[in-house]
């Protein structure tokens, strides 16, 4: 109603140019637009490779004919790490740029903010990276899907390995925000279930990006644990490793560490990368499955650089969207959502499915041990942990999701 009036006014207001886009014509030839929102200025280390991976998949899709002859195009927006900015971009992308769907998100709260927007405005949102469980469970909604293995899944993968160790006294170190808190919560809960009798003797929650590593190491050492569960990453991790190594914190202790095997976090540690940690990650140079080799070669050819995990996430987000569009053959939001539910697609890591029950993808991660080779950290004794094996039962999941999702 209001739209009609507005168009009428626009027409009479001598803004004739604005009318030059008849919607029918546009639907046939105009590109399909994806609005992508991410913390490019504040999380640049992760998101550079991510965007490369994204563009690689986008070019591949367009080179192979696009979607029924329509090109796929992306509008990138920088949320500067602020959820409120992300919501503004979402509004701008949908209202002004008329994007067909939204994607992206690195920080959990930004993912949740966009998911909230998607639900309110009935737009499809494919969350690529945010790890929070809430986005598909307690705050899950019909319009939101998430690709990357969640905090729960990462913790479950490490618990499987940690439970095999002959130790019972654990300490945890995690950044003090939702991701760190839930990783610790799940690790404790799942490990206790798997191995009754384990004790958690110390917990440290340094502020994200602000770890006082010496003091934190000392506080952990004072509790004398047999094993350490680490969730810190980036600069915090580097500080922790340096102080921990010099002070002997990791000697004769097992360490299980989330994400540390990802090149994003392992490579900056260079020759000081820890050895023997059980980690989730991505040994990019060693995975030789057909899908991955094809991806890796294409990536190296295009960017003259090796892929990081972010590259895979970007690449697979586009792959999922492309597969969905080709399956549903429509850019109508409800039809796209229907196509996303239960969507199976080929990821760089193999078969992946977006589960109908909670919209979580079954993309997995690699679990293995860190080792120094030629002055660089890498993963050894690794295996691919398929995401579908590290999720709670459908009944449990359904109970967690809101009724109206």
């Amino acid at each position: 109603m209001t739209i009609k009036r507005r168009e009428l006014l626009a027409g009479t207001a001598a803004a004739g140019v604005l009318l030059g886009s008849p919607t029918i014509l546009r639907a046939q030839n105009a590109p399909i637009r994806i609005g992508e929102i991410n913390s490019y200025s504040t999380q640049a280390a992760f998101l550079g490779p991510y965007r490369n991976g994204w563009n690689l998949a986008l070019d591949e899709a367009n080179a192979s004919g696009g979607i029924d002859g329509r090109r796929l195009e992306t509008l990138f927006r920088d949320d500067a790490g602020k959820p409120e900015d992300a919501v503004r971009h979402a509004g701008e992308l949908v209202a002004a740029e008329k994007v067909d769907l939204l994607a992206g998100g690195y920080l959990s709260n930004i993912g949740l903010a966009i998911a909230g927007y998607a639900k309110q405005n009935k737009k499809l949102y494919v969350a690529s990276e945010p790890l929070t469980d809430a986005i598909v469970w307690s705050q899950g909604n019909r319009y939101t899907f998430r690709l990357r293995p969640s905090t729960y899944m990462q913790a479950a993968m490490l618990v499987e390995e940690a439970a095999k160790l002959p130790i019972t006294r654990w300490a945890t170190i995690a950044p003090n925000y939702e991701y760190g808190q839930s990783a610790v919560k799940w690790f404790k809960e799942l490990l206790a279930k798997k191995k009754p009798g384990v004790q958690f003797v110390a917990e440290q929650f340094p502020a994200l990006g602000r770890i006082d590593a010496g003091a934190t190491v000392q506080a952990i050492a004072a509790a004398n644990p047999e094993g350490i569960f680490n969730v810190t990453f980036g600069a915090d991790l580097a500080n922790l490793v340096r102080q921990g190594n010099t002070r002997g914190l990791f000697e004769r202790r097992a360490v299980a560490s989330v994400l540390t095997g990802e090149p994003e976090y392992l490579d900056p540690l260079a020759d000081e990368a820890p050895e023997g940690w059980i980690v989730t990650g991505y040994p990019w140079d060693k995975v030789e499955t057909a899908n991955h080799v094809k991806f890796r070669n294409a990536y190296r050819a295009k960017f003259n650089d090796y892929p990081r995990l972010g590259s895979v996430v970007g690449y697979d987000t586009v792959n999922a969207i492309v597969t969905m569009l080709r399956k549903g053959r429509s850019t109508d939001t409800e039809k796209m959502v229907d196509a996303m539910e239960g969507l199976k697609f080929q990821s760089a890591f193999g078969d992946v499915e977006f589960r109908k029950v909670d919209h979580q993808a079954t993309l997995g991660a690699f679990v293995g041990k860190t080792k120094l080779v030629n002055g660089k950290g890498t993963m050894v004794d690794w295996r691919y942990a398929d995401g579908k094996d590290y999720l709670p039962s459908d009944a449990e999941v359904a109970a967690m999701r809101p009724k109206d999702s």
Binding site: T2, R6, A10, Y40, S41, T42, A45, L47, R77, K82, P83, E84, V87, R88, H89, G91, E92, A95, A96, S108, N109, L112, A113, A115, G116, Y117, K119, Q120, A134, Q139, N176, Y177, E178, Q181, E203, Q204, F205, G209, R210, D212, A213, G214, A215, T216, Q218, A219, A221, A222, G234, A235, N239, R242, Q243, T246, R247, G248, D267, P268, L269, E272
Partner: protein, 624 residues
């Protein structure tokens, strides 16, 4: 026992690191009274350059000379960059109203962030470890890193060198004199410009040195500037601005608190688990709040001899010129008609700007007529947003109730915090507002059971459509601004301005200065709260970022950019700042660089703020 000793040593090492950054800031503030936001950027640049000189260039076989030489040369280079910035930027605006230089240094922060990313890339860079100091000492059976031991020594050594510099050289004597009484030094015929430049060099050199010395401890990365700046300010204020010894004492106090709190086990009060060890970000601000309440000028600071009572004479507030009133009327009329011509996106942008107009107007009310600058106005914006969101989440309150609950909560916050704040003045008052804002932020961030922590409160959507919400925001902004304007022209407004102009005179004609300021504080808080409540419904969710430092900075920038001295200033500032930000992000990835340059250009072009400049032109044309 040994654990406690080692933890004490850890605290000493961290104190040294903190002190090195803070002392430069303190010296610069002491002499030039510039609140230098870019200090963190110099710290970061020092670390990056030191990385380049010790590892990045790929030289082989660095000895100790290469390592220490690299850090020193990097600090010298950054010191020269500081001189350059002082010469071309700050020197031109020393005469501008207080805090205006803050705006300029904020522009520098933005520029440096993008330049650093362009030069050194996004990936964290791990620096080399100090040659010969990779190992550890044995301290009562525990290992303690050699480099940390060195840091423990460097702090007092630098402190001692600075003492010698200040007490045994003519330059130092001048700096001390200028810190105590700037006008006096000027009267003695000392070339202030040279003194300021040299002080700026020493300050930035020390910041960069602090950054370089972090190389063996933490990787160099793009968040270093923001991570350190708030802490550095806290140390400077707690120690007493301009007092180097105070800075060391403050650094020691805060670092030891932070080290030992990690050892405090969790406990329960009334079923609520309290984890002191997790609250690592709070103690520095708590210490600052307590110190400022007990000792208004910091541990070793002295009250400035000439409390800048009349340093910048505020212009007379006159009745609105008819043409400006017409212009205001026309803009409101245009806004009412906006939904007829603008699309959904246009309305969205306009709604957001309107909300920030209200926020900026509320800050201006306490900053301009009230003379109380706030570095923590986001606290009340955030309280307003949480008031609305929590009412909706926990009590299923409708939007109408939420829009009341928000400002009420913010006003309560304003009444509580304001009571303490109005006992101080100037930068000290501003820093106390920052401390309280950080405490609000921490509660929002850490009281997960109620606030949802950093995942926020979701699903707070308005009960009306987008056009309706635009009109609601318009009504709030117009009525809010008119009410605040009315208050400025009311008897209360005169009392408030009187208290700002001369507390002595105000007191002598029966005005209770503190009470008037307290009331103004609470009023400003409640209007910021209504902006926050609107924002909550506008975004559909509330996060701790609403109460975080960047929001406070945004509000401050709007007011300063527009001009503190005119009532239309915050409105113009909000529109220009938000508009620039919004459009730049759409068109360029280097938006911080462009925004930073734009801010610097605006600062140089309009040292009275944009509206202040226009008002001056007006006055001239009026022949007044």
């Amino acid at each position: 026992m040994s654990a406690l000793v080692v933890q004490f040593l850890n605290g000493l090492a961290s104190a040294s690191a903190l002190f090195l950054v803070a002392c430069g800031l303190s010296i610069i503030f002491g002499v030039s009274r510039i609140v230098n936001f870019a200090h963190g950027s110099f710290y970061m640049l020092g670390a990056y350059l030191a990385w380049t000189l010790t590892r990045g260039l790929g030289w082989v076989g660095y000895g100790p000379l290469g390592f220490w030489g690299g850090i020193l040369i990097a600090a010298l280079i950054v010191g020269l960059i500081g001189v350059l910035i002082e010469l071309v930027l700050l020197r031109r605006i020393y005469q501008a109203p207080e805090l205006f230089q803050l705006l300029a240094t904020f522009g520098v922060v933005l520029v440096v962030q993008d330049l650093a990313m362009a030069i050194w890339g996004a990936q964290d860079l791990l620096g080399p470890r100090a040659p010969g100091l990779r190992g550890a000492f044995d301290v009562m059976g525990q290992r303690f890193p050699e480099y940390e031991m060195l840091l423990i020594l460097i702090g007092p050594i630098v402190l001692g060198l600075l003492w010698l510099l200040f007490n045994r050289t003519r330059w130092g004597t001048l700096v001390r004199a200028a810190t105590a009484d700037r006008e006096m030094v000027a009267a003695l015929g000392v070339d202030q410009r040279k003194l300021f430049t040299s002080v700026f060099f020493v300050g930035t050199f020390l910041a960069a040195l602090g950054g370089g010395l972090q190389l063996p401890r933490e990787p160099v990365q793009l968040h270093m500037d923001m991570a350190i700046i708030a802490d550095a300010f806290v140390v400077v204020v707690v120690g007493g601005m301009g007092s180097v010894g105070g800075a060391y004492l403050a650094a020691l106090l805060i670092a030891q608190l932070q080290a030992f709190m990690l050892l405090v086990p969790d406990f329960e009060i009334a079923g609520l688990t309290i984890s002191i060890a997790r609250m690592t970000l709070i103690p520095s601000f708590l210490v600052m709040a307590v110190v400022l309440i007990l000792r208004p000028y910091g541990l070793l600071g002295k009250a400035p001899s000439h409390a800048r009572t009349q340093a910048s004479v505020e212009p007379v507030v006159r009745a609105t010129p008819p043409i400006l009133a017409k212009l205001g009327f026309a803009s409101v009329a245009a806004m009412i008609l906006l939904p007829l011509i603008a699309d959904e996106y246009g309305l969205m942008v306009a709604t957001e700007i309107l909300i920030f107009v209200l926020m900026a107007a509320s800050l201006h009310f306490m900053m301009g007529p009230g003379g109380m600058a706030s570095f923590g106005h986001a606290a009340y914006f955030g309280l307003g947003a949480y008031g609305a969101a929590l009412a909706a989440k926990h009590f299923n309150a409708p939007m109408e109730a939420g829009l009341v609950a928000g400002p009420v909560l913010a006003a309560l916050g304003g009444i509580l915090f304001g009571w303490f704040c109005v006992r101080l003045s100037g930068v000290y008052l501003a820093m106390l507002t920052l401390a309280f804002a950080q405490i609000v932020w921490s509660i929002a961030f850490q009281w997960v059971a109620v606030t949802g922590g950093d995942n926020g409160v979701l699903g707070v959507w308005p009960s009306i459509g987008k056009t309706g919400f635009f009109y609601l925001s318009l009504a709030f902004a117009v009525i809010g601004v008119l009410l605040l304007r009315r208050a400025i022209y009311s008897p209360f407004g005169y009392a408030l301005r009187g208290a700002r102009d001369s507390a002595l005179r105000a007191d002598a004609i029966g005005i209770d200065v503190k009470r008037v300021q307290w009331a103004a504080f609470a009023i400003a808080a409640s209007f910021a709260g209504s902006a926050g409540a609107l924002f909550a419904y506008f975004k559909g969710s509330v996060f701790p970022t609403y109460a975080a430092i960047p929001k406070s900075v945004d509000a401050l920038m709007m007011v300063l950019l527009g001009g503190v001295q005119t009532i239309s200033g915050p409105l113009v500032g909000a529109i220009v700042y938000m508009g620039l930000h919004e459009q730049l992000v759409r068109v360029t990835e280097l938006w911080r660089l462009v925004l930073g340059i734009a801010i610097i250009a605006l600062v140089l072009a309009f040292p009275q703020g944009i509206a202040g400049f226009a008002a001056k032109r007006f006055a001239k044309e009026d022949g007044a």
